[in-house]
Amino acid sequence: MAEVFELHLRRRDLGKLVAASLALSGLTACAERREKIFPYVRRPAGVVPGVATHYATSVVRDGFAVGVLAESHEGRPTKIEGNPEHPASLGAAGVFEQASVLDLYDPARVAGSRGPLGLTSRESLERELSAAFGRGAAPWLVLEPTSSPSLLRALAALRARFPRARVSFHAPLAADARYAATERLFGRPLEPQYRFERATVVLALGADFLHDMPLSLRHARDFATRRAPGPAMSRIYAAETTLTPTGTLADERIGLAPSELVRFAAAVLAELAKQGELATALPDGVKSALARGAPLGETEAAFARKVARELARARGAALVVAGPGTPESVQVLALLANAALGSVGRTLSFVEPVPSGQDGALPLAKLPDALRAGDVGALVFAGTNPVYSAPELALDELVARAQSSFCLAHVENETARACGSVLPEAHYLESWGDARAGDGTLSFVQPLIEPLRPSASALELVAGLAFGFPASTHEFVRDTERARLGLGPASADIGFDFEAEWERNVQRGFVEHSEFAAVNPTLAPERAVPLLEQALSAPSSASGFELHLACSPTLYDGRFSENAWLLELPHPLTKQSWGNAALVSSRTAAMLGRHTGDVVELTHGTRRLRAPLVILPGHADGSVTLELGFGHAVADQLSHGVGVNASVLGVPFGTVARVEVRPTSAKADLALTEDHWLLAEEAVAHELTLASYTQNPPKYEHDLAAQPSLLPSFEYAGTQWAMSIDLSLCSGCNACVVACQAENNTPVVGKDLVKNSREMYWLRIDRYLTGNPDAPRVLQQPMLCQHCEKAPCEYVCPVNATVHSTDGLNEMVYNRCIGTRFCSNNCPYKVRRFNWFDFSGARGATLLQRNPDVTVRERGVMEKCTYCVQRIRRAEILARREQRRLRPGEVVTACQQTCATGAIAFGSLDDESSEMLRRRREPRAFAAFAELGTRPRTRYLAKIRNLDGEETGS
């Protein structure tokens, strides 16, 4: 869309002009219409229409902040990028950060306040809420765990004003086990900090550390620094129940049911305890407790021995990580192993817990009894959805027993439906706030836009209750910051320019060096003994299957349930879109006599759940994984009926439970974007072991050069764009997929079309499984347009709609395309996408989020990855304006920018300094389907696995 709307609005006022967005729809006929131009009335400083600006802010989830940069076009936030300076991002952004911008424009957002007595204005509801807090029985506030100094300050003030007020923190995935474990061993809860850049050997115990831990983006960056093939390459072992992105990148992994995981961790620790100098680190009580565990299977035991040997060999540079979903026992065992290995202070350190304010907070589990007893006055849910995520508390019925109930919600979720009053929750791009990152760094949430509709953040609500409405969160956060700096009232500033400091910090998005200092706690290993004795002696004879609950890699805990991008996003391993499933191994499925797509019934006590079965090779036998976040029950919403809600079984996250699984005759309607698994020899993706790679490097490039051609060769010179993708670094986490979708206005098509293989991703991740079908190796391959020099798509287009640019791009000219689709037939990589219908106005799509630099494609045209040509041309225009050459690394593609492991490198072939070229010259660089003679510009780097010699279980 080339026309700019020069809005007469301030940057943050855009919502008032939603109607103008109609003109954002693209690609219509050539006939010119009479358009209006609306220039600004008073032009805000620093805004140049047509030039995007970036603002630092933070995405906060469960109290942990990730610093991001939000891109704004004439006041519309359109895209989220990682903040390169922020320690929790280092420039990367994950799936949820990337997708979060869509929620801002979500058409399903709570439209307006809804209260009793027909109250519909925000102000009247706030008055009502304040009044309700002061009268009747004790008020009860349920919040998401938080690390926000401002919110904690407001909470303290609230408690002071309403001493009877009770506060609960609720998040279904809140990782209490690590705090419990640290409290047990060190006497107080602590936040472990992992240093993967220092770790030579890592054991991940149910830990998807690249993906679902508070500092995962940083972990991934650090991890990648040690994964270049060579003597310094780290070695990763993973023991996990389901297959996770981290598991796919591990050099070796083993699938273990949750109870086996405990015994496996114990076996590793016991093995370590036998090793000479390590033996002294553990008290005998622990050793004898470890011996109580039932023996592991032969393969598992051998693996445990080997892992222990390798860990011990890397003493001081070894690291054992337990995932947030593992029980306390596993966490304790991991801490003990780290202690025994001397990791503390080297690869592992501790800081104070990031979410705080827990003192005096009541567990949510106490709420039902209080409600039954009629002890609750005003019940307020802010930013949490316990009716959905804690169904065992039966809050949907009990909420009515509170004297009044309020819900601050983003969308009309289950809790909002149960409450008497609903207040719209502000998006983080609309509100001020602060929070701490995983290492304690104080980060700021800065709004880019005035709230699209009257709405409030949790901070605003609490501050309003504590100090009276309306609360200015901007002032409040500033004041908190002043207080943190030890400054009094503004008039008292002497010799310190708070304004300058504040502006610097807000501009940067965080306060430099504000991370928590590492603490040196004293370990009391003997305190682990009772727990270990209990955990290891638990009977393993019980019937049924072990249930493993996991964080959804696409919907997190369900808070993104209305995010169309994430609903459609294929699961990294099962490639399931629009839904979740009961994941089992192929052996378990065979035991049940059912296949992928059949429905099974899971029973836990009296609670039942019917879920479709999906076979996930490599999953632990005898256990079932259910991912949280699906199965929402609010009618008319996008997420309605998508997947099943695993919380219904009433098993808290992070605990081990057994369920009965009964096959049924029903069939489910699954949307799997890839539905077969195993692959023999494949010319499209290679993997090698480190040993074979160093001793006998492959000659892929030589094979490519040897391809004969009847046609004269075509000489390319000057700037020539190319990409190198390191398969050793791709975990399949999907962040690039969502980044591409946000950058390139790629539509969401819905379940029915996904089922018919019509998804529109320009960049998808192909997942290959090789080796033993029960313990497969996973290869994740980002597949995007390869920009072939002899592109087979080009010479079959009858209208020159896809041709080659002088700088080596395979160009797709949408406005020339007539839609013969021959190009797609002729593309061996199948990266071309077709607009089967008019997708530009599809449900869940938001016109305001669209990137104005990329054409919105019309019905009937082909589209595909362009190497982010809009970014290339923008950089070129800048360079031409400034009469200079392009700077090395000046052009970054959206997928490259967001990738936490840096698997994707992009640059020009004439830029000798580029990482892309360095990788391309590695012997393991190969072209996909080189033998077809397409001469792709994209190179993949064969996945290298750092094996210790023999491989267990394959």
Binding site: L27, T28, A717, T806, R880
Partner: protein, 212 residues
Amino acid sequence: MAALFPPWSNRALRIALVVVGILAVSALCFPMVYVRTPFVTNEHVALDQPVAFDHRHHVLDEGIACLYCHTDAERSAYAGLPSTDVCMGCHSQVWNQSPLLEPVRQSYFSGRALAWNRVHSLAEFVYFDHSVHVARGVACEHCHGPVETMARVEKTVPLDMDFCLDCHRNPKEKLGFDAQRDFSAMRTEDGRFPAHTGHAVTELTTCSTCHR
């Protein structure tokens, strides 16, 4: 039995065939001609604007440069129209009672934008960037015509792809500078230019220069 058709029918049939032939050819040619007429290109159509702004007065009489009001042309893809406060910058002092400027004052005090009618409009899939054209020395009037002589602004060139390619194919001849020379951004390390391969497509005529 008499003939089915009278003798004049021969001539009639031939005339009819010729007419059908002419009509067929015209039906083919008409759209090609039509799309080049101002009915489609909107050339020389002067539109009424909410404010009777006269470029002749501002440019010729007062000597105000284009970039004074269309500031962004140097740094953005869009040249932009001046915000109301730019107008008021002068007109709060001069002609501050003029009834002609009433809409401007209304806009300024009410905060409602002036709704100008777009004169120069490109299709949505064309990404034209003012800044690079201005920086490379393409004169405003090359595409916008002698705006300083217009009471109401009108299009003087069709602004179709044909028009764009005219310069993009041969910037040296058309604009008086060697585009190839100047595209330092595209040059190789040793100052070479992409080898001549028989494909006369340059950085300027490659599709994604304008279509993305």
